[in-house]
């Protein structure tokens, strides 16, 4: 079974084409990095998969079915700057939002769901901050709250948009261990990521993107100098060293 199958997906903002002819299928249980230069359409791809964009053509199947949000099989971690952190609410409350789909409209969250939310906060090492208002959290802590909210969704497939951006080392370790846990539980995770230095270690599958898919597949076969150069165009430079001939330095 495929976790994600996309056929002929194209997306346009007004008259500008942002994604063109995306065709991929990714197996269940993989931990996939979505990699590409700035403006490659990485976030757009996730939003298109999650059915959040009006101007798109093509089909997206998740676990072999068109996405229906009510199935509650998809968990989502948006970019941290996608929300107003000055909003008056606390950490536990945000995590509890991950349960709203299960709780149902107009109902008060039952104790059971509050317990799940609390457990998820504990999972990301934030239980001591449950009552803290979200505006007082550091960037890394906010990211962990978002991660805990996604865990509370108890989904099968997770999409995370740049979770590693601007976080401290402890948060980075937490995210990595959560990703491994999810994989061990047989879940499928997609992570938008832009740090090429770490990408090779974090993910076992890769999607290289620049407006369209330039390469995708298991990391070993996909994460090559040749493929990266194709995705990044001339923006990459490599350092030739005596021992390794493809020691990657980064985006110019």
């Amino acid at each position: 079974m495929n976790a994600l199958q996309i056929k002929n997906l194209s997306v346009a903002y007004e008259d500008k084409i942002v994604l063109k002819d995306v065709n991929i299928s990714i197996p269940v249980g993989s931990l996939t990095g979505i990699i590409g230069p700035n403006g490659a359409g990485k976030s757009t791809l996730i939003k298109a998969i999650l059915n959040q964009l009006p101007n798109k053509t093509g089909t997206v199947h998740i676990l072999d079915r068109p996405l229906n949000p009510k199935d509650l099989i998809v968990g989502y971690v948006p970019q941290r700057n996608a929300v107003d952190w000055d909003f008056p609410t606390n950490a536990l409350d945000v995590v509890l939002m991950g349960r709203y789909g299960h709780i149902g409209l107009m109902k008060k969250p039952p104790a059971k769901d509050k317990q799940i939310a609390l457990d998820c906060l504990k999972n990301v090492g934030m239980e001591a901050f449950a009552d803290r208002s979200i505006g007082q959290l550091s960037g890394g802590q906010q990211q962990r709250v978002f991660l805990a909210r996604a865990l509370a969704q108890e989904a099968e497939i997770y999409f995370m948009d740049e979770p590693f951006v601007g976080v401290d080392a402890a948060t980075e370790r937490t995210i990595i261990s959560i990703l491994k846990d999810l994989k061990a539980q047989g879940k499928t995770v997609f992570v938008v990521h832009h740090d090429l230095q770490t990408a090779g270690d974090y993910f076992d599958w890769m999607i290289l993107l620049n407006k369209t898919i330039t390469a995708y597949g298991p990391t070993k076969q996909t994460f090559t100098q040749e493929n990266l150069q194709q995705a990044y165009g001339g923006k990459l430079f490599f350092m030739d060293q005596a021992k390794s001939n493809d020691n990657l330095v980064g985006e110019r």
Binding site: N68, P69, P78, P88, T89, N90, M106, G135
Partner: protein, 297 residues
């Protein structure tokens, strides 16, 4: 002394204050306060049109007229923003002034055709709670109770929809319908308050209690309760004071009471108020000075 009717008026304006305090908090957090202002001004042409067409001063009919033009104004603001390069502030200002202008023209026509101010429609501009009839107050109270009930029912959905609409949609919440419902209730709040507070200052009842309450807590539940309390207090005080003197409009007094509450919150609220912030800054500076003195020794 509290006469029978004044008691009814008080109940009505308190319920209105609670409804506007709750509903206003949601639209304040959604950064839609100014849309509420435009919608309130746009109620005026609806009132005048309903009066011209049906030749009656029955409050429910005037309220329906007001709701139609008020709702239309919200729709027009969105339409202008979607269809043109104009930003929301320009679209709001445009719709607000044009609809209020039309309203004033229509009211003048009504006043000319009915010998002076016999229609009493002028009272809808600044509000006249103290002399409202009991039947009108029953309409007002019923409508306010409905708004309060809806705000309690959809508390959790609106919270998520305003905080993170993309996530809300992702878990299957009907975000568009929830947003429309909130807008519709804002229009209903405005329509409910127009006779008591008036179209010009009705927006203040939505904005000021919510803005003041934000200083007292960073927890939405507490902010809602505080805002409802401030709204109720403003409504009650405004009504009492304006009933003391004949010819005093209710709207301005309510706004002045609400503004006083806002100023008190702005300066004296714990942790978020200005004085508390200044004190913390000073303490921080003193600690720094003390630390530096220690390190120089």
């Amino acid at each position: 002394m509290l006469t029978g009717n004044l008691l009814w008026v008080l109940v009505g304006t308190i319920l209105l204050g609670v409804a506007a305090g709750l509903n206003g908090t949601f639209s304040f957090l959604q950064k839609q306060s100014l849309v509420g202002d435009a919608a309130a001004h746009a109620a005026l042409p609806g009132i005048a049109l309903a009066y011209l067409v049906f030749e009656t001063k029955e409050l429910p009919i005037l309220m329906i007229g007001a709701a139609i033009t008020s709702g239309l104004s919200v729709y027009m603001i969105q339409w202008i923003v979607n269809q043109s390069k104009l930003k929301a502030d320009a679209a709001i200002a445009l719709v607000l002034s044009v609809s209020f202008g039309i309203g004033i023209v229509l009211i003048s026509i009504v006043n000319q055709s009915t010998a002076g101010n016999q229609s009493g429609l002028n009272d809808f501009i600044f509000g006249k709670a103290a002399t409202m009839a009991k039947s009108d107050l029953i309409w007002l109270s019923g409508s306010a109770l409905l708004i309060i009930l809806m705000c309690l029912l959809f508390f959790k959905e609106w919270k998520l929809m305003i905080f993170d609409p993309v996530f809300a949609k992702g878990i299957g919440l009907p975000v568009e319908r929830l947003r429309t419902l909130l807008t519709a209730l804002t229009v209903l709040t405005i329509v409910t308050g127009i006779q008591a507070v008036g179209v010009i200052l009705m927006a203040a009842m939505l904005i000021i209690p919510a803005a003041a309450a934000r200083y007292w807590s960073s927890h939405l539940g507490i902010i809602l309760v505080t805002s409802a309390f401030f709204g109720a207090l403003s409504g009650a005080f405004g009504t009492m004071v304006s009933s003391l003197r004949i010819g005093l409009s209710t709207g301005p007094i309510i706004v002045l009471v609400a503004a006083t509450l806002f100023l008190l919150s702005f300066f004296f609220a714990p942790t978020r108020g200005l004085l508390s912030k200044l004190r913390k800054k000073k303490e921080f500076k003193q600690r720094r000075v003390a630390q530096e003195a220690m390190s120089h020794e």
